[in-house]
Symmetry: C2
Subunit: 244 residues, 2 copies
């Protein structure tokens, strides 16, 4: 029923998934970047998003753990060090904790994920399991949301610096670094799937993997919006901003 696409048609289909489902379209992001959130809501976003940051090196290790191709492992390795750091570079997770420090959150509390929404944990763990259990091609394809990341990082840097007096250049360092890192990774993964998705079924798997990943990101913002914006029902045990 489905027919084989050319590599460029596959790329176009993948970019269409991003245009329709990437989380820059979510109303929570409009509020975040537009300066419409209060400090407690930005705290909630940062501590929940830590669940996502913290899972990245694990999902990249899960990919390498089932990858028999040494060249691909060599290429993939820097994704782990980008986040965990190596030697003197403390890495992206540390930069994320500088952000949560700057927002006045206790580091142990953030790292324990105790106050995170259950959906943040479930969605990010789903990503780790997806990478561990699906085919290598699908695992690579699920990283392709990075194709769309630079735009959102630029919006976030300018929007948050402009609108929030509790945000400065230091705490926003995470996103600046990702502006350099994400495009290289995305280009590699895009070329990989264009080359290795050789059947209509594999091409559909690649599209489904990217769709899955957009769901992972979107569901986290749904849960944040529900708990901290409207209707504002914070689940039992989750972070409550001061005064709530």
């Amino acid at each position: 029923m489905t027919t084989l696409m050319s590599p460029d048609e596959l790329e176009a289909a993948l970019r269409k998934v991003g245009a329709e489902r990437y989380h820059n379209l979510h109303p929570f992001h409009h509020l975040l970047h537009g300066g419409k959130l209060n400090k407690g809501q930005v705290q909630a976003w940062a501590l929940n998003r830590y669940c996502y940051q913290s899972i990245i090196p694990q999902k990249d290790a899960a990919l390498m753990a089932r990858c028999e191709d040494r060249e691909l492992r060599r290429e993939w390795l820097h994704r782990i060090t980008d986040h965990d750091g190596y030697g003197e570079d403390l890495g992206g997770i540390e930069r994320w904790l500088v952000l949560t420090d700057g927002l006045g959150l206790d580091r142990d509390y953030v790292m324990s994920k105790r106050g995170a929404l259950a959906t943040s944990r479930f969605a990010t763990e789903a990503y780790r399991h997806f990478v561990a259990e699906k085919t290598l091609l699908e695992a690579v394809a699920s990283s392709l949301t990075e194709l769309f990341a630079p735009g959102i990082h630029k919006e976030r840097i300018s929007g948050m610096l402009e609108h929030y007096d509790f945000i400065d250049e230091k705490v926003i360092a995470y996103f600046k670094r990702r502006l350099d890192q994400a495009p290289k990774d995305a280009d590699f993964a895009l070329e990989y799937v264009k080359k290795n998705a050789k059947t209509p079924e594999q091409q559909q798997q690649v599209i489904a993997a990217l769709t899955f990943k957009t769901d992972v990101l979107w569901a986290q913002l749904d849960a944040l919006y529900f708990a901290y914006v409207d209707p504002g029902f914070i689940p039992p045990g989750a972070f409550r901003p001061t005064g709530k």
Copy 2:
């Protein structure tokens, strides 16, 4: 820091988790049982809840797959047949599909989970992975929400029959059957954890496992409320009731 509880103290601690976190407390359930939802919203609930129903035999098989105790496997097996059926009994999942049939939903669409909220999939898959990856004691403990199920099933049967003209005895058969099944299972699991949680650490693991499971149920209702009640933002690709 934590001290050893008596088995009865452990039971009291587990019942406290239920009293504070079981999803009968969620506003979505008040709407559902109180007749405050329209048919499209009840459809959304039933097709999303199918994700949970469908994962139960898999999580029970995951428990048996890592269980070296033949007696426990023999005891546990009927949980699979309760849901999958055996011989002439078609089981609980079939009864759930009778409910979704009765609500006018296409069976293939429901079973594909294509229209389910991503959070419904992530939360239920988190449950399956929890059972597969944690200790056997924690896996058993995560089933303990059944201690609190009979109350919610009774509320649901009477509330839905009374308030919705699209609900009748036939489509609600699932819940009637669970009134008999759930208490036996819950009693067994409760006695098991009371007997086998022998250290303070194990007792805390048991409480954490039940807390995790209440999160699994709660997060699903958060997502339903967000998408279909207030603010009513249906994520890309999810079920849209007729006219939405």
